[in-house]
Symmetry: C2
């Protein structure tokens, strides 16, 4: 695993700087890490030497010697939808000033690959590991528990935290969406979702949505679940399909805003009046949905905030502070104009 292509091999070490500056290695190390006391003049001399020879510290060696890295492992299910990049953005904003770096891995919603990624990231002895949701395979969970480092589970507040959980209740989101629609007088519901077996949080929302609808005595007429990841086009075609099978539906709950916006586009193209003929509700509160001619009725999830708080939690732990085990950041129902 040695780098090729090197002229001026970047194998400069502390020793080279030390020689150049006429001090010992440890003094150079102290200057670089701004730790311990170094005379102002010495410091300057070392700084000069560093930039003169173009020394780049080797954090791998540093981390090994000090038994800790400033890497934060992040495991998210997908990058195909702006939701997780938003979380990542919040996290990044919180941690980068402190010099932490995110090592990102994607599971594509497969819990099996989560296990491998946890194992792999753990081997970098990160300062913390951030994982998505509270559902994990038993041995993955065990690994996380045993790892003995800060673990933050984001996006979900319905489960039992391994260490720290920051998220929202998807069960409640599904219930409140149903309650909202029932209060508006809708009675014949449909559901459109993407691959449910994998997106466990969408699945939870669907569960509580349908059970709330049924408990209220309204009818749950039918659903279409598309096989792949969520997207605007698949939401659009799924609604076409659903309406063909169940023309009498008066409100459709979509697994998220991408899908719901697709539904809105279908209605626009077919001249279906929203919300008089059909109500549409999404989930996430994407900016795009709110910019539609009729703002989308949806639930705004504080994704950036979740990522940001996760970052703050890691830092707080690092600084030896107490961090609450569970933070429910809540959500906001945006009434919009589509329901």
């Amino acid at each position: 695993m040695r780098a090729r292509r090197g002229f001026r091999q970047s194998t400069l070490t502390l020793a080279d700087v030390a020689k150049e500056a006429g001090v010992s290695e440890i003094t150079v190390s102290r200057v670089i890490r701004a730790r311990g006391s170094v005379a102002e003049e010495t410091r300057r001399r070392v700084q000069t030497a560093i930039s003169k020879i173009g020394y780049v510290p080797n954090r791998i060696a540093g981390s090994l010697a000090s038994a800790g890295s400033d890497l934060i492992g992040v495991i998210i299910p997908s990058l195909g939808n702006i939701v997780f990049p938003d979380v990542l953005r919040g996290l990044h904003d919180a941690i980068s000033e402190r010099g932490f770096r995110a090592v990102v891995s994607v599971t594509d919603y497969r819990l099996e690959s989560e296990r491998e990624l946890v194992r792999s990231l753990l081997s970098w002895r990160p300062a913390a590991l951030i994982v998505t949701g509270c559902e994990h395979e038993p041995d993955t969970r065990q690994m996380l528990v045993n790892a003995g480092l800060t673990i933050v589970e984001v996006m979900d507040a319905d489960g039992e935290a391994i260490d720290i959980a920051i998220g929202m209740s998807h069960a409640r989101a599904g219930r409140e969406t149903a309650a909202f629609l029932l209060a508006r007088g809708y009675r014949r519901f449909g559901y459109i979702g993407h691959d449910l077996a994998r997106d466990l949080r969408a699945c939870k929302r669907r569960e509580t949505f349908t059970s709330t609808v049924r408990e209220a005595g309204a009818s749950f007429a039918g659903e279409v679940v598309t096989p792949g990841r969520s997207s605007v086009p698949s939401g659009r075609s799924a609604l076409a399909e659903l309406l063909t099978a169940h023309g009498d539906i008066d409100a459709v709950y979509f697994s998220n805003d991408d899908m719901a916006i697709g539904g809105v586009f279908h209605c626009m193209a077919e001249g279906i009046a929203i919300p008089d003929k059909l109500a549409i509700v999404g989930f996430n509160g994407l900016a795009m949905g709110q910019a539609l001619p009729q703002p989308l009725t949806t639930i705004l999830t504080p994704r950036f905030d979740i990522g940001f708080r996760a970052g703050l939690a890691v830092i707080a732990r690092f600084d030896g502070l107490e961090v609450p085990r569970l933070t429910d950041v809540g959500f906001t129902l945006l009434p919009g104009a589509t329901a």
Copy 2:
């Protein structure tokens, strides 16, 4: 930087496994890395020992010893728009099977922070560094050159590659968009963009677009450039503003699809006929734009593909293969129905 909270301190080392399995450390190391020859029976014994005591390898030590890591540093300008997550997704798909991990950092379109991030990521002795665009501050560029490792510049094919560049010509994209609109008979153009001082590639597209328009003798009537990052809502309000000032414009070039979709929504809401009264053109070819009732006229950029090729290039280099210095992946003009 030592982890807290640890029961069962994860300070298990190769030595512990070796003792448990009754072999030497190096044999355990060989089993873990699947390198060198180890008898089947020994291998099994080591595997058992590993899972029995719950050993997690320490890649920091491993990387130090073997002078190379399987980390790939990635520096992108933003996570606020699906474009870069798409690149990241392609990269991830290409590299994760080979065990490489992406360390992601975001510049927020500031070249100064790029310098700091390069320095910081370089200190992890990554296998490669992936940066966005070909514009860098001189000393950043120098650092990259001196680093002596694989450097991939993505998204842009207009500049001189430091090592490897994979992207497309934004200059050509601007020109072809203008040519397309001119061929369709549009004559009075407007431009709507987001913070140009920062997004250098959007800036380049705007330059060639306007110069092509002017060279053809058509008029460039006006533009609105919003201060923040691009988004659907700001595209929507920017178009309202532009049309107030220049009601006679017949075609608007947007800095990207997010902004353009906002423009479409404005027209929908105001009853402005597209494309008869106003033509709208975007850039990126987001799925959402193509799912609009009238598909957006835009340029499809192969973002996933760029990320994927970047990953393949890193792997090829790693395997000692030749990689072309510059790969222009091109783009596709999607005629759509909005122009």
